[in-house]
Amino acid sequence: VNNNKNSNDNITYRSFKNKGKEPTKMRDRRIAECVELRKAHKVESIMKRRNISSVGDEEPLSPEDNTDNKQVISETIQEIVANVNGECPEKQRQGCQAARKLLSRERNPPLKEIIEAGLLTRFVEFLGRNDDPTLQFEAAWSLTNVASGTSWHTQQVVEHGAVPAFIALLASPMLNISEQAVWALGNIAGDGPSYRDGLIDCGVIPALLARLTPDAPVGYLRNLTWTLSNLCRNKNPFPRFSAVQQMLPSIIQLLHHSDKSILSDACWAISYLTDGPNERIDVVIKTGILPRLVELLGFEELTVVTPALRSIGNIVSGSDLQTQAAIDAGVLSALPQLMRHPKSSVQKEAAWAVSNIAAGPCQQIQQLITCGLLAPLVDLLRNGDFKTQREAVWAVTNYTSGGTVDQVVHLVKCGALEAILNLLQAKDTKTVLVILDAINNIFLAAEKLGEVDKLCLLVEEVGGLDRIEFLQNHENNAVYRAAQALIEKYFSEDGDDQCLTTEATDSNFVFGPSDLQKRFVF
């Protein structure tokens, strides 16, 4: 009986508090917004990388190697073609090395020219030359750098049959060759879901995991982790469950490594795996990694904190149970410090996570209060950069639509109302509307307490009334209607729809029901 009652209460409470908005909808508002106007994000991890390191004992690049002179480059390539296509192993090695050097220039490597010179067939062939490790290595390096280009470049490498060859090379006894293969495969996996799945089909995962040994050097492990992360990356479609299950134990293991770069890429892998529907999140949670993720939130390195925070943010955008798992792992004690992080990108992600926790049931909202997240939240509303303020505003709106009256009162006392009223001047229509929604929620709470008048005064005192009134002139219909509705309902002194008709003469209404008599059923 008890259980039943609770869930019933819950339904009434939701349908009322959220005014028909399903909480899940509020959580998933980071919808598939694919179109971007901005530059690609600087803090995200890189999809493809070129190997531009130079081998230790090599002399610096000659002036020709660094020129942008088309003539010179063209001549160099012709020479390479001649060498590579010849039968002399020494010349082949020389040609390959020259190509690799060209492709490793810091600026404008001639990827297209190398492809158009028809060199890829030979390079892929060389990958199989177990008798000549140097040649294998130089060819692998060249192909890695070609694959690091655009999708078209990567496509050329794949279509020349490099994938099976690289997978075979993973097992090479020469560590530098195996490492180069790891790297090349990472570039191919990073191109998108279709090559990623192609690699998985070719059995790349077991081959990679076989190299994950305790004695592997850190540099090697870094590359390996990055390639694994690219195999977890991208949606539409996600990597299939069986592949994820195969990789997860190793990724979890890597998350306990001491190297920051490995930690970073392992975290990115987790962030990709959690950036999806709840069943994807579940797979990650079941590994028991949450406490470690929370621990990583406390690291100093931005490269670790960013993906760890992204992962946590993704998890708390899941179901109430998943969110609770994150809370139980201690995420709420890590968030305040991240909300005060010097980098605004971290503040923003932290605020996003808080906004999703605030979209949960009031028990979770209570935990936000208990763990002291309201003060930093209000700080962000006041002083955060715009993107952070926008997330913080969502947090307030979610909080006020799901919170109890007492919780809402508490939030107002912490200064959130004044802060969001100030943000009504924001030059972002959605944010303004979301704030109006929050204000409306706060008024609904005040109605229940019979404190509407007091709230009206408070709103007016801090200049909010002026701003809401001003929004009645907003160009956006939804905004001006929301503003108008608030003003009419709460700030003006003082509503017809006909369903039965009443006949009227000049002097009277004619009393009596219409003849049409139906059966009444209620």
Partner: protein
């Protein structure tokens, strides 16, 4: 419709006729054009006339007609006829840009609007080449053409500033950026270069600067949603040039006009907005440029004059500084004492000065001055912007800023003291500065509620404000007097009571001032002081403290209404109302005189009601006069009726719509004061109150219902005996009201009064029909509000006529109806009933159903007995269920399209809550216990057995509590 000369000729003739001032010629021509606009080629004919006609007037007329045609018909609405043929659509899109660009400006504007209407529907998918066509024109070198393109682009892109982010919108913006951003940037640079080449050619400059202003607007639109990659990469170009333009001054571009903003001002204003956009949204990327902009904008402010034409620029510029200075990481730009001092001295203080434009408004346009100064409709003014900057700076620098300003205030006051006659404006600025510095939070109701603790408001009052208030010549320096009065009003919550009391007689004296602003402020200040609350929520200023000034106050208030320009002054009327309310019985001696003045005023304003607030307070004052006087002596009600009824009759006869609802409220108040029978004068009016025309106006409904309720309370017997033929009409009103979701509760008010007061015999024949109507409404559109009212009504009916009567009438309408209502309506919904009295009625009614209705004990209804009892206990013990189904949330807003607030409730005509059950039942829980006891004695054993089988334990526990409290037991 073929494209031939004859049709062109005909079209030209009809266009000509649409310009005729004679409606007999114009209307048929307009009708004709509308009747043929569905024909193919019609728009092409219009465009041909527009292009080829020799008559300039006809060309413009064709352009306007074309634009309106596009506006009405271009959008294709699903399931509706497509009014423009596809070939016409294609032809229009193929030609319109060219046509626009080759047309003179007047026509260009119309066609540009038409393009943006078409663009809103068709761009980008159905008009893919529009952008490229536009961009190609940038190279034309013809700035007439280029400005046409820019204007069109602006009307196409400006929606990016207010629409919500969506994939669709962003894809469009991305497309625009891809084709437009680079050429726009090139055009921007080229235009700036041309400005240098043509630096001495005023005509060329004018065209070029209009281009720059338009380009800056486009920049704002394209950068609004997010920072595009292109603009991030080209920030250096744009920001460097914007910065240069801000600092640019070309003597040739300075206009002589003092009022109208020139091109240079418009451009710079837009650049300030652009900088503010970047500072707010793209902080991280914009940081390297921001300090330069702060300096440039600050210099701009320092060098810009006081003329009105600069107002928008100055207020935008100050707002920019205000928004930047309160952001923590720009704090350092302002921290330096010298910087702060300069900003205070050169930006804030000059913009707080009382300008000659203000002085003119003070004298000649007092109404507007008061609205701006008192009600804060001064969003775009310099003073407002300067105040916002002060507040922004105080966030981090309250101490230093207060210090700097104190110095200024002192020096301005010293200047004033040297020669008040000449330097009075210095004191005005000083007071304004103190006010803006001290105000941290403010409301209409309380004035300043939070003040800067560093400013000693009380001391400033004694040293500088009191002098002006006490000045024997009330008409000298009216601006300073108004300032002083406003100071008291603004800081009323901060000043000690003694200072307020000291001010009261002084304010009363200022009511006599000639200056409208001054006596209005005095009235307003007094009104505000009288609303202040002290200990125990009593008024801060008591009637006793006011006794010495009462006569003077009332005299001066009414005298000031006689000043030309103040005859319908709402502030004064409100002060009169407030004074009555404060003084209460102290005004009784003056009422005989005052009521004459008030009625006289009412008669005057009823000829042409134009000031709604004034009129409202006038009626409130009348209500107060009546209440206060009749409280002391109810018999005086006759004399009020004698004084008021002639005016009221006139208002009702002339149907002065604004006043009718007020008249009904005052009449209700008067009628309710009568203790014996209803006077015949009221009865004569009764049939008229039932006229449908009156009820059609929403504003009449609440006061008319209230008035009819008063009739029923005082004259039910009279109606039954002398106006029984009017009962169907009265019920007709009820029927009309319950048909409406918005007014159904009013219908129930009326019905409840009928059931409560009308002799039962007089309504017996209508009872069944009443219930059928209610059931019809319940069936057709059940809303929470209706159900709540319905529950209260049936329970009231049960209390009045008994449970058996209720059950019989239900089951008579339809077999088993009673059970259905109990099961589907009462039990599930009674928890929603709100209000003490309403809940009590339901409790008593349900108790009767439970204990006095044999059908519920002995028929198939028996299964409902325990659930009903449980629902009743729930009503007693559980919190109110205030949930509303999802689909009902927006009823109030969405289903009342023609909503008009014609009804203004008079606070002082208020009605006391009425409890029809009254003392007959003091505790419904005890009544339930006693009634159950009685029932159980009639059929021993049954009640306990029903309780023990199906009442939940918790409910049973509550019930036992009631039984104990009533000291009864169940048998």
């Amino acid at each position: 419709m073929e494209l031939n000369d004859r049709n062109l000729q005909t079209l030209t003739e009809y266009l000509q006729k649409t310009l005729s001032p004679d409606p007999a010629v114009r209307r048929p021509a307009e009708k004709f054009l509308e009747s043929v606009e569905g024909n193919q080629n019609y728009p092409i004919l219009l465009l041909t006339v527009l292009e080829k006609s020799q008559d300039e007037v006809i060309r413009v007329c064709a352009a306007v007609t074309f634009k309106n045609y596009i506006k009405r018909n271009w959008r294709v609405v699903e399931d509706e006829l497509n009014k423009i043929s596809d070939p016409d659509r294609t032809a229009i899109k193929a030609n319109i840009v060219n046509l626009m660009l080759s047309s003179p400006e007047q026509i260009q504007k119309q066609l540009s609007d038409a393009i943006s209407i078409i663009g809103r529907e068709d761009f980008p998918q159905k008009w893919p080449d529009l952008l490229t066509e536009m961009v190609t024109r940038f190279q034309s070198g013809d700035f007439h053409v280029i400005n046409g393109i820019l204007r069109t682009a602006h009307s196409l892109f400006k929606r990016y500033r207010h629409e919500f982010k969506s994939n669709e919108l962003w894809s469009e913006i991305k497309l625009v950026l891809d084709t437009f951003a680079q050429p726009l940037t090139e055009l921007f640079k080229a235009t700036i270069d041309l400005c240098q080449t043509h630096a001495t050619d005023i005509n060329a400059l004018k065209v070029l600067f209009s281009s720059l202003a338009l380009i800056s607007k486009l920049f704002y639109s394209l950068n609004f949603q997010d920072l595009p990659e292109f603009f991030e990469d080209n920030m250096e170009t744009w920001m460097t040039n914007f910065h240069n333009l801000l600092t640019l001054d070309n003597k040739l571009l300075q206009t002589d006009d003092e009022e109208e903003a020139g091109l240079l001002e418009l451009l710079k204003s837009q650049i300030c907005d652009n900088a503010a956009l970047y500072a707010q949204k793209y902080d991280e990327e914009f940081q390297p440029y921001l300090p330069r902009f702060v300096t440039a904008i600050w210099n701009l402010l320092v060098t810009t004059g006081q003329e009105v034409k600069y107002d928008l620029l100055v207020s935008n510029a100050i707002q920019f500084l205000a928004s930047v200075c309160e952001r923590p990481h720009y704090k350092h730009l302002f921290e330096d004492q010298n910087v702060l001092t300069s900003i205070c001295e050169k930006v804030i203080v000059p913009n707080m000065e009382f300008r000659s434009a203000d002085e003119e408004a003070f004298e000649d346009n007092s109404e507007e001055y008061i609205i701006r100064d008192l009600e804060g409709s001064d969003i775009d003014t310099r003073r407002r912007a300067a105040c916002d900057l002060v507040r922004g700076l105080c966030k981090f620098f309250e101490g230093p800023v207060t210090g700097i300003f104190s110095g200024y205030v002192n020096s301005m006051l010293t200047e004033y003291a040297k020669n008040p006659g000449v330097n009075w404006k210095h004191k005005d600025a000083a007071i304004y500065l103190v006010t803006s510095l001290a105000s941290k939070a403010q409301t209409q109701k309380h004035g300043i509620t939070q003040a800067n603790e560093l400013v000693n408001l009380s001391e400033f009052f004694v040293n500088h404000i009191l002098v002006d208030l006490k000045s024997p010549n009330v008409n000298e320096f009216p601006v300073l007097k108004a300032d002083a009065i406003k100071y008291v009003m603004t800081f009323r919550s901060q000043l000690p009571k003694e200072q307020l009391l000291e001010s009261v007689p002084l304010l009363v004296a200022h009511l006599q001032a000639e200056s409208i602003v001054q006596h209005t402020y005095a009235a307003h200040a007094l009104e505000r002081l009288f609303t202040m609350r002290g200990a125990n929520n009593a008024t801060l200023i008591t009637p006793t403290e006011m006794a010495p000034f009462t006569e003077q106050l009332l005299n001066n208030l009414f005298k000031s209404l006689a000043v030309p320009g103040s005859s319908e002054n709402e502030y004064i009327m409100k002060a009169i109302m407030r004074s009555f309310s404060l003084l209460q019985e102290a005004i009784v001696p003056y009422i005989p005189t005052l009521i004459g003045q008030l009625t006289h005023k009412l008669l005057l304003v009823s000829k042409n009601p134009s000031k709604p607030h004034f009129n409202h307070y006038l009626f409130e004052s009348l209500c107060l006069s009546i209440r206060i006087t009749c409280k002391a002596d109810p018999d005086t009600v006759d004399s009020f009726e004698e004084a008021l009824f002639p005016v009221f009759t006139e208002i009702l006869q002339n149907d002065v719509q604004e006043f009718v609802p007020y008249v009904f409220q005052v009449m209700s108040l008067l009628l309710e004061i009568h203790t014996s029978s209803i006077p015949s004068s009221y009865m004569a009016l009764f049939p008229h109150l039932l006229q449908p025309a009156l009820w059609e106006r929403t504003g009449n409904i609440p006061p008319l219902v209230r008035l009819l309720q008063a009739y029923l309370e005082k004259g039910a017997a009279a109606i039954a005996s002398t106006a029984a033929d009017k009962i169907p009409g009265l019920l007709g009103v009820f029927q009309k009201l319950i048909a409406s979701k918005a007014n159904d509760h009013q219908g129930f008010y009326l019905l409840n009064s009928i059931v409560e007061h009308m002799p039962p015999d007089s309504i017996t024949q209508y009872r069944k029909q009443i219930f059928i109507l209610l059931f019809q409404r319940l069936q057709s559109s059940k809303t929470t509000k209706f159900v709540k009212s319905f529950l209260v009504f049936i329970n009231l009916y049960c209390v009045k006529y008994g449970a058996i009567a209720l059950q019989e009438i239900f089951d008579d309408i339809q077999p088993k109806m009673f059970g259905m209502v109990v099961e589907k309506i009462i039990i599930p919904e009674v928890q929603k009933v709100s209000g003490q009295v309403e809940k009590k009625i339901c409790a008593v009614g349900i108790t009767k159903i439970l204990t006095e209705c044999p059908a519920l004990m002995d028929t198939e209804y028996t299964k409902l007995w325990t659930p009903l009892l449980q629902a009743l206990i729930g009503l007693f013990e559980l919190p109110e269920d205030d949930s509303i189904p999802d689909d009902e949330h927006f009823i109030d807003i969405e289903d009342t399209p023609g909503y008009q607030t014609a009804f203004s409730q008079l606070a002082f005509a208020g009605k006391k809550e009425h409890d029809p059950i009254g003392d007959a039942v003091s505790n419904p829980k005890i009544l339930l216990a006693q009634s159950l006891h009685k029932l159980s004695t009639a059929c021993p054993g049954r009640v306990p057995s029903m309780l023990s089988t199906s009442l939940p334990a918790e409910a049973l526990q509550f019930l036992q509590g009631y039984l104990q409290a009533a000291t009864v037991q169940l048998l």
